[in-house]
């Protein structure tokens, strides 16, 4: 009996230690947050919808018993930053300006991927005003949602046309309220995303869009991971990067364009407008979904931060070279054999 006890307890202790060590390697759940699309089952991000459509998270993590939680935030960047600050999310995929605002505001995270770039904005004006160019917006009431990519994009377009925010009367309305105000005639123009029902109804005209704007000045999507999570689970972080790169590889291929557009339509967008968002203008589909956090990505973020500081949108500078962590993307690209796929 005593011999048996001498064997049992050390064995049991070793077993418990092994199980605990194994459990520490993996979290029980990985929590993601993204701005929501119009339809509640979909995110605003095309790659996230590809991931969910192809069950890529489940395929990667189900075998380890890791649960995936996804939150689709109606309040976009501000809501995502609030959740990150409260420790509710491990990863977030959202617009570059909101990411910069969060980082400048003290969020401890790392920027590990750029799921897509070349995001577009569209300036609509009331049809009755006959506004034909951005320069005609001088003195007009122009709405864009502050704290989102629409703000920086609006300011960049104004700057490119010799105007500043002081040359217009800025109105801060979110998407739905802005369109209602434009239809009601109480504002003159709206800076918004690609879906344009008021144009179809004859109430607004398209004044300008950024599809041929310099790509470096159009908005990017960014994937951030909280510092805590990245330090505790570097392998899981790499595997998350791998999933996003798998989705980017699929989305970057011309032969999948129609399926990608159909996914955009499912988020609530009209087909004819969704079609105009994939691989058009001066950006190819392949480059649009180049997820590498490379020097081009770093330079674009540096440009955005400089622009934000100059326009007093943020007060704190960010060391982008320290903030961007390429290690996860590099490891994932190597594992997938895609190191040279997006190389120029």
């Amino acid at each position: 009996m005593k011999k048996w006890l001498k064997v049992f307890f050390p064995t049991a202790a070793l077993l418990i230690m092994a199980i605990s060590a194994q459990a520490a390697e993996h979290p029980r759940v990985i929590r993601f947050a993204y701005p929501a699309a119009t339809n509640p089952d979909y995110a605003g991000s095309p790659l996230v919808n590809v991931i969910n459509n192809q069950n890529l998270f489940e395929k990667e993590f189900a075998k380890d018993g890791i649960k995936i939680e996804q939150s689709f935030i109606k309040t976009a960047g501000p809501g995502t930053n609030e959740g990150l600050a409260a420790g509710l999310f491990d990863f977030a995929d959202y617009g570059d300006f909101a990411i910069v605002l969060g980082k400048a505001g003290g969020l401890k995270n790392r920027l590990i991927l750029s799921p897509s770039k070349g995001g577009n904005v569209y300036i609509l004006a009331r049809a009755s005003l006959h506004i034909n160019s951005v320069k005609d917006l001088r003195g007009k009431k122009v709405s864009y949602w502050k704290g989102t990519v629409l703000q920086t994009q609006a300011l960049r377009v104004l700057e490119a046309n010799g105007l500043t925010e002081k040359d217009i009367r800025q109105i801060n309305l979110n998407g739905a309220d802005a369109l209602a105000a434009l239809a009601a005639g109480t504002i003159d123009a709206v800076v918004g995303s690609y879906d344009r029902p008021l144009v179809d109804q004859g109430l607004a005209t398209l004044v300008y869009d950024t599809r041929n704007f310099p790509v470096s000045k159009r908005y990017r999507e960014g994937l951030v991971v909280s510092e805590d999570f990245a330090q505790k689970y570097p392998d899981i972080t790499k595997r998350v990067a791998k999933v996003f790169i798998q989705a980017a590889y699929w989305a970057s291929q011309e032969k999948n364009k129609e399926q990608l557009i159909q996914l955009l339509v499912k988020t609530g967008a009209k087909y004819k407008y969704a079609k105009g968002e994939i691989g058009v203008g001066n950006l190819s589909q392949k480059d649009q979904f180049d997820p590498r956090p490379d020097h081009e990505n770093t330079n674009d973020y540096k440009g955005l931060i400089d622009f934000s500081l100059k326009n007093k949108l943020i007060r704190t500078n960010i060391d982008v070279d320290k903030w961007v962590d390429k290690s996860y993307a590099d490891a994932a690209l190597k594992e997938l054999g895609l190191q040279n796929y997006w190389a120029k």
Binding site: S71, N81, G105, G106
Partner: protein, 461 residues
């Protein structure tokens, strides 16, 4: 033409006609999505239905398919119009109907004195109607209204609770500019915290004694006019977080309580000024507020409950309060102190021979709480979820409540220590568990030590 040719011609005509009819009667279907071979690293097919077919995607829609689609849309429109006419309530202006119910179980677990009964009660039932009479998309100078009715224990009489019109004098759309509102009707008194704050600063089921009917009755509504606004707002766009450095509010009211005309010629004045830490969302000082409140009014001089001759408005009433709060999820505390002076008749039958005395009362409360969950994260909790989802939040707290009805008399105060736990488990729904340890002092008599358990289920719609 031979008989065979006629037969073939007839069969051909029949075939073509049947095909057209079949096409017209068939439901309109979306173009099929055919599979395309991809080099996706995912070996399994997509969870979508039929994948895209390149040829179908290029097919031209026929006139008959379009007519079929128009017919479907027209049918849906007619169905919706009938429903709007018969089954859906209408209003003349924008309207949101809401309500709050508080259902409570109270049990005295120990007491030094006999007590009446334990049992269930409906602590409050409120039905409200809110909306905008005019919505200004240009500057947000909106005209809004609120009308609500309240029934509460023990009488359960249904009475108007709030009934006001509000106009935004300053613009309200630009988060970086100050605001100013004018409110008119039956309104809340802008005094301190306990009388007017929401559940983010008041976790306990019971209002603090000094603010309730047993004290200064600050939580009761009154009829009048109120100006409230703020100055020097600080805005952090990363979190859509707005905090004004100064908040102010001033009201002119009857002073007779809810649903009552003024009982004298004077109007009561209530005012509050509060200073908030004008910092970013990520600052440790976010949520820190210091406030000062003042109430000055007139009451009647009473002798055995009856107004003496000329005694309307003959007695002065003043209150002064200070409050300090720090609410920065997940942790928070509130502390409030109020002192009041009430003039009352000592002797006399009319104003000319009346002798009065002033009684000073004092109350204070301190609450400390902590929460796990997203209940008070105003941006992050707004999520697109297909089913009925709401994050759970757990909030333990402790509160100390002290009331002295006459500071000139020793040994007549009441202290209540409350241990509480709140569970927020559905949108606008919470379960509150409070354990109140009360010590009531009466001069020359033993203390009344009473412990009470309160379970309250509050839900709104």
């Amino acid at each position: 033409m031979s008989k065979i040719k006629y037969t073939v011609l007839l069969l051909g005509i029949l075939f073509v006609t049947n095909a057209d009819v079949h096409a017209a009667n068939s439901p309109v279907t979306a173009p099929k999505v055919a599979t395309t071979e991809t080099e996706s690293v995912s070996a399994e097919p997509s969870k979508d239905e039929a994948p895209l077919d390149a040829e179908d995607g290029d097919r031209v829609v026929t006139q008959k398919e379009l007519q079929g689609l128009n017919s479907e849309v027209a049918t849906l429109r007619d169905q919706l119009t009938r429903q709007l006419d018969r089954n859906i309530a209408n209003s003349l202006r924008s309207l949101t109907i809401g309500g709050t119910l508080q259902e409570r179980y109270t049990a005295v677990t120990s007491s030094d004195y006999p007590y009446t009964s334990n049992g269930f009660s409906v602590a409050a039932a409120i039905l409200s109607f809110n909306g905008a009479l005019k919505k200004d998309y240009d500057e947000g100078k909106n005209l809004t209204y609120s009308l609500s009715f309240l029934a509460s224990a023990p009488t359960y009489n249904v009475q108007p609770y709030e009934a006001w019109l509000q106009y935004s004098i300053f613009q309200s759309l630009d988060t970086e500019k100050p605001t100013l509102y004018l409110q008119f009707g039956q309104i809340s008194k802008p005094f301190g915290l306990e009388a007017q704050v929401g559940e983010d600063k008041k976790p306990a089921a019971n209002t603090a004694t000094f603010a309730g009917p047993g004290g200064f009755n600050l939580a009761a509504r009154d009829i009048g006019i109120k100006l409230r606004g703020d100055l020097f707002p600080h805005f952090d766009p990363a979190y859509n977080y707005r905090v004004p450095f100064i908040e102010y509010s001033a009201a002119l009211i009857n002073g007779s309580g809810p649903n009552a005309s003024d009982s004298n010629k004077s109007k009561d004045v209530v005012a509050r000024i509060a200073f908030n830490a004008p910092v970013d969302y990520s600052s440790d000082f976010r949520g820190l507020t210091f406030g000062n409140s003042l109430y000055s009014g007139k009451k009647a001089l009473l002798s055995n409950g009856a107004i003496i001759s000329g005694g309307q408005g003959g007695a002065s009433t003043t209150r002064f309060g200070q409050d300090l709060s720090y609410v920065s999820s997940p942790i928070g505390f509130t502390a409030e102190y109020a002192v009041g002076k009430d003039e009352a008749l000592v002797s006399g039958t009319n104003v000319a021979n009346a002798i009065t005395a002033t009684t000073q009362s004092r109350g204070y409360t301190f609450t400390l709480f902590y929460e796990w969950g997203e209940q008070f994260l105003t941006q992050a909790r707004l999520q697109n979820v297909y089913d009925d989802w709401w994050p759970k939040t757990y909030q333990p707290f402790i509160r100390f409540d002290h009331w002295d009805p006459n500071t000139a008399v020793a040994g007549n105060e009441t202290s209540i220590l409350t241990y509480g736990f709140n569970l927020f488990f559905a949108q606008t729904t919470k379960l509150q568990l409070n354990y109140n340890v009360s010590v009531g002092k009466t001069p020359n008599l033993p203390n009344n030590n009473t412990n009470t358990f309160v379970a309250q289920f509050q839900y709104g719609f």
